[in-house]
């Protein structure tokens, strides 16, 4: 496996400039489900709201931050998914240093009504989950294991995402063919 990864890295280096940058994004399927490490998550009132409370349900764990415009632009689609799909729990975890106020301000600005405020209490979720870039959305099965992750922003409530979410809900294998469409870069203005 390591060798394949190295080959991949070498192949990336030989590719044209722009194409390589794009290779980092997209759906990455785990070879085998990986237990998600424990993260200290707080809700909007500062109370613990860890993923352990959601065991038994599939989860989309979205990592975002107020300084990441594509992340903020992706929130409304996740909010609509949370409202429409009751089999999956969407956890939008803010990695902001300014925590709850920054998350609440972004929710108010974007009209987020269904997602709960969740913040990375110890500012270590990015490291624990190896998120060297944002946004990243982890697809977590009912047993609390990461089965895949999507790097970049997606239109999470589009019909094209259905096969992926259906597989996650049913506990069926996920394949790269189920990759959701990347959300188009946009001219979003900073806060």
């Amino acid at each position: 496996m390591k060798r394949r990864a190295l080959l991949l890295a070498s192949a990336l280096l030989l590719m044209p400039h722009r194409a390589r940058a794009k290779m980092v994004t997209g759906l990455i399927v785990a070879a085998a489900p990986v237990p998600v490490p424990a993260i200290d998550i707080n809700d909007g009132d500062g109370n613990p709201a860890g993923l352990g409370q959601l065991r038994g349900r599939p989860v989309l764990l979205n990592l975002w931050a107020s300084w990441c415009l594509p992340c903020v632009a992706e929130l409304p689609a996740l909010d609509r998914l949370m409202a429409a799909d009751h089999r999956i729990t969407v956890v939008a975890l803010s990695l902001d240093n300014t925590g709850i106020p920054a998350a609440k301000a972004a929710y108010a600005r974007m009209g987020i009504a269904h997602l709960g405020v969740r913040v990375d209490a110890k500012l270590r979720a990015g490291e624990a989950l190896a998120a060297s870039m944002l946004p990243i959305t982890l697809l977590i099965d009912a047993e609390g294991r990461e089965v895949a992750r999507f790097v970049g922003a997606a239109d999470w409530d589009s019909p094209a995402v259905r096969p992926l979410l259906d597989a996650l809900e049913a506990g069926h294998p996920i394949t790269t063919a189920m990759a959701p469409p990347q959300a188009k870069p946009h001219g979003a203005q900073p806060p």
Binding site: L12, L13, A21, V29, D96, A131, H186
Partner: protein
């Protein structure tokens, strides 16, 4: 496995950005010049600053830009976590973010941006040639890509990754790969403070 792939991807991206070619902004090589670490820039409050403005403080410095159109690197978040990990020692350290996109990253914009990471962050911008000179003096490469979708303000900037440790006189001590975690960075900083 998943984690490894992402790390490898990030590593590959970092290599891409630091590798020669791809129309870098500067043609010189590290061998031809020394990394002087000099700069004449404008801070997030509009003040003219140089490397001497932070005398007596160790600096953690990185180059980048704030308008990420599809994905955003978490380098500044890791630097902020390193500042937290340093505890009282952080009082002797200043984290500095230098934009390579001064057209969009004005001091006002940088002020709001760096504040989202840590109140101790300094965000530096300046005239394009001043930014160019600063990048040159750190051997940092960057390349502004053509605008996308016909919007002149929608473009990406490829740039070198990594975090510089500069001493209290602004001299280069070390360059850390950007995938280091906060505890590793804090450890390197503590060693430099001794």
């Amino acid at each position: 496995m998943v984690r490894k792939s992402v790390l490898l991807g990030a590593l590959a991206a970092a290599l891409v950005l630091t590798a020669p070619g791809g129309a870098p902004a500067h043609a010189e090589t590290a061998a031809e010049t020394t990394l002087t670490g000099r700069f004449k820039l404008i801070d997030q409050d509009g003040r003219a600053v140089t490397e001497a403005s932070y005398a007596g403080h160790l600096r953690l410095m990185t180059f980048g830009y704030t308008f990420c159109p599809d994905i955003c690197p978490t380098t500044l978040a890791v630097m902020a976590a390193a500042m937290q990990a340093l505890g009282p020692d952080a009082a002797r350290v200043i984290p500095i973010f230098v934009t390579v996109d001064p057209k969009r990253d004005t001091p006002q914009r940088l002020k709001a941006y760096v504040a989202a990471f840590d109140s101790r962050f300094v965000g530096l911008s300046g005239a394009p040639d001043a930014v160019d000179q600063a990048a040159h003096n750190f051997h940092a490469r960057y390349h502004v890509n053509p605008p996308e979708a016909g919007d002149p303000d929608l473009y990406t900037v490829d740039h070198s990754a990594g975090i510089y440790i500069m001493d209290g006189d602004g001299r280069f001590l070390a360059k850390l790969p950007h995938q280091l975690d906060a505890d590793d960075i804090a450890q390197r900083v503590r060693a430099a403070l001794r």
